[in-house]
Symmetry: C2
């Protein structure tokens, strides 16, 4: 490294510590053996990691985007339980070839994304390895919790936003397609998926809830199986969702099937819910039975494995 | 891999899930977006990772030992705050070259070590990378918490056990010294440091407390600085501790200074405390002033950087 481990820790701590000091729920923040924080009766815990050249490429994304994306992945899992994120810890491996500014940008991406969901980074661990690796654990507060098993016949099915954009962005980058204004939303969503705390929090009255980071199709099947119900998705409802026409245009431009992007893509960190009168996009209904019916999709294509 | 990601997740889950199902505090265990667990008013959170060829070598340690060691590192940080560990999440990167039995042994090492401290693995994330990487986050319950800043003049200084064994084991392995019965304890302590929940829990009346994973000298200096006091260590008290003569014999055999091992080694995951009438080894006293006095050590040798 062009600097010592102590210098990196000092720079990173100075980015994360202010939110610790401002937050009366953080009793002991960064700097001791562990953080001490105020918790509720029930907490939600999840962990999600990102590895260079597996989950992200430094040529494709800025440090800030990489930090934001892995933070969003963790926060979305907390929201996907009907909970509110509170605390994050970050285990970070650097190769030693990074510029200090790159490291600071990564930390800032994590810190800003955490702050936008009212959560704070309260600890971490730094190491050196051959690839950059970021492993985040998020802890949230749960008064209630919503699993995949609560769907009931008669429920409607909802998405918090239209998925498929992140996968479109991945295709554009991995096929090295030329930059174009039409690609902007897809690239942006791949590099740094948008998290919408407001709509995610408003899914707290859902009966069944999950994040569709592995794709709409896979996770609809999980709800179907866990709840013992049939999920029938109405593609005409998806067609009328905000952004569908734009996504279809991008799909056409890059030679993808828009339904493959929507049903088989992942990493948009959109919530899938069943319930009554939820916000977001209503895409179908829950029926007695089993399995997922999605007329546009005969079978989730084998080749559509998400980017990890 | 010789098997699919789903098979690995299934095998690992079957090792971790029984403790989830037995534990009434685990409301939602492995398998949903996140775990939901019962927590106290205050929780303690820490994260610690281990990377192949940086923190461990597969030629030197079994999978079970590697799993146990990184778990101990996390649990010790929870005890070092005067708290009780409860929940762990594990982010694991595999290269794809491992045998399934190796992976199961790794998981079993983590599960057994967690169980010995009454804690359970409630979630995780699996990925593929060029090196094996294990990142664990531990969450514990804290009715009180003990930082590094509580030492007062008049306190005695205590260790929960004699440190130096792990460093001796590292020296034996890294210099490729021949196997010998005299090396057994050092090798065992390096490969899989012993955690003593009973004595660690009995340090809850300490005034200042920390884990000495970075070495006795470094962490005594941290207590001294954080508390604004002087720590005077009496080496004759350490000499009368259980195992000192054996460690000195090993040090002689491998050509190390026993005081370098004790003061500059690390990763034994021993607690350092100040207070009154604590168990363990009393090694000195806290005085008004600053700095650490340790007559046997003129200066912590630059070369003694711990193994990470």
């Amino acid at each position: 490294m062009k600097f010592t481990e102590e210098q990196v820790i000092s720079e990173i701590s100075s980015i994360f510590s202010p939110s610790n000091q401002k937050n009366p729920q953080v009793l002991v923040g960064i700097g001791d053996d562990a953080a001490v924080v105020a918790t509720d009766k029930h907490s939600v815990i999840t962990t999600d990691m990102a590895i260079e050249d597996v989950h992200f490429k430094c040529e494709w994304s800025t440090a800030n985007q990489i930090g934001s994306k892995i933070t969003v992945a963790n926060l979305a899992d907390i929201y996907a339980m009907g909970a509110d994120p509170q605390y994050l810890v970050v285990a970070l491996t650097l190769t030693g070839k990074e510029e200090m500014q790159w490291i600071k940008d990564l930390a800032q991406g994590i810190a800003d994304t955490a702050a936008a969901s009212d959560s704070a980074v309260v600890g971490g661990d730094l190491s050196r390895g051959e690839k950059i690796m970021i492993s985040i654990t998020a802890v949230g507060s749960s008064r209630l919790h919503i699993t995949r098993s609560g769907a009931r016949p008669g429920d409607s099915i909802y998405l918090s936003a239209l998925p498929g954009w992140s996968r479109a962005g991945f295709e554009i980058l991995s096929r090295n397609l030329s930059d174009s204004p039409a690609h902007a939303r897809a690239l942006s969503q791949f590099r740094s998926p948008e998290l919408s705390p407001t709509i995610m929090r408003s899914f707290k009255s859902a009966h069944a809830l999950c994040d569709i980071s592995d794709s709409l199709m896979i996770q609809a099947e999980q709800i179907s199986k866990a709840s013992g119900v049939n999920l029938t998705i109405d593609s005409s409802k998806i067609e009328s969702a905000e952004g569908f026409a734009d996504l279809a245009a991008v799909a056409h431009l890059i030679g993808c099937d828009v339904w493959d992007l929507i049903s088989g893509g992942g990493e948009d960190h959109v919530l899938l819910a069943t319930g009554v009168n939820l916000p977001g996009i209503c895409i179908g209904e829950v029926r007695a039975g089993s399995g997922v019916e999605f007329p546009e999709i005969k079978k989730a294509p084998e080749s559509w494995r998400h980017f990890n």
